[in-house]
Symmetry: C2
Subunit: 252 residues, 2 copies
């Protein structure tokens, strides 16, 4: 008799933004498959389980994803409680559907446990609501990353149609993103914040205008980062302690 | 000396989708201001604090919001740890910016503690990833609700520009939403799922096509609900236990 696979969101990085349900499941898990960006202290909650790293930070290959899918099915045939721990929320940019489809095809029971997605932690870091009466009543989460056979709406169109936007996995292509948005009619004055390592001790917030996003590559961003775009970010709202410290350090 | 106000996301409804940080803050809080949709068991975590209901489920008035803003400032002048507990995530459709602006103007320190937003719990309920390789690489969260002096992109434009969409606070206007989207060129076959009471025992998932969204009002939806739209919902992926039970009950 097969066990259950829980696709669990580990949240944006800091261990205490994990949900109570995720913490409880980790404590009870027989085996945990985890992504590269999961915090060691989060993983440590799974103190009685086998822990297997399956994450790749960049350049994910579908072969590797197929291998993960297969391992989840195999694990569910041996264990009662299998956790697949993903950064952020499993259903946003986490390739969860491929795992869900494989589990479904194999008749394995699964549950999704939501997590805090990085964009919300990033906007929390700069102390700014993504929606605001009179200014923003819709929000888009996009990625400019493309894969083989990729379809769907083009990301720039989605960004331009939303009041507030978070771009995932885009910092490496910041210059191209700025060029594309400006060419499609976005204002060069549009406020932008890049938040690196949202929720973690190394959290850093870089405020700029869209015209200057191209030079973001010069800022030495090496951690995972979210690009926030929209008029709501125009106001220099007080940032979180971490961002404020970083901003003071740069100003000094 | 003023205390700190924590704008805390209570998550989608079920108490165990609260974050560890939120649970810790509630336990330590001197005073908690909470919205109508916060679960009693979540509130019960604040066992040593004064608890004040300030939520209104529908028809929020700006006068009432101004009153909440003022009470938060007053509370921070008397207490060390003030929690403002909001359903879902504070920065999505939570009117957090009005509270942030008031706290900032009064020189009160604040922090944002993200929560699981309802759309992610709704998509988890139907076991479907909002993004999917080859089909969806961007997501929009919108509301058709308008207020006095409301500006920003029109919600239908944002929905049409995104691969996958979640509409908040829209079920009461489901017929108008369907008419608007169809008139703007959306396919009448576009898959739609309405998730009522996501994450709670009364969770219910209603699958339909966009053409049939107008008749959703006849389904007796009374709890908070999210409308999910997009090709990713075409596949009848196994839903969560609660949704499956409800679907079986209806089929019987």
């Amino acid at each position: 008799m097969a066990g259950t696979v829980y696709l669990v969101g580990a949240g944006p990085g800091t261990p205490d933004l994990l949900t109570l349900r995720a913490a409880r499941l980790l404590k009870r898990a027989d085996i945990v498959f985890y992504d590269a960006l999961v915090h060691p202290d989060t993983l440590a909650l799974a103190d009685k389980s086998e822990k297997i790293a399956v994450g790749k930070r960049c350049g994910r290959h579908s072969t590797a994803q197929r291998f993960i899918n297969k391992r989840l099915v195999d694990a569910a045939q041996k264990h009662e409680l299998v956790v697949r721990l993903k950064g952020g929320d499993p259903l946003l940019f986490g390739r969860a559907q491929e795992e869900i489809d494989e589990l479904t095809a194999a008749g394995i029971r699964f549950e999704i446990v939501p997590g805090i997605t990085a964009a919300l932690a990033a906007s929390a870091a700069v102390g700014t609501s993504m929606t605001r009466r009179g200014l923003s009543r819709n929000v888009a989460f996009v990625t400019p990353r493309t894969g083989a056979g990729e379809e769907g709406h083009d990301w720039a169109q989605t960004v331009l149609a939303a009041d507030t936007c978070a771009i995932y996995m885009g910092v490496g292509e910041a210059a191209a993103i700025a060029v594309m948005l400006l060419a499609r009619g976005a204002s060069s004055d549009l406020p932008v914040v890049i938040v690196e390592n949202a929720s973690l001790p190394g959290e850093r917030c870089l405020r700029m205008r869209l015209a200057d996003l191209g030079s973001a590559a010069a800022s030495g961003i090496t951690g995972p980062a979210i690009i926030l775009i929209g008029e709501v970010y125009a106001q220099a709202s007080p940032a979180s302690t971490a961002c404020k410290l970083a901003e003071r350090a740069r100003a000094a």
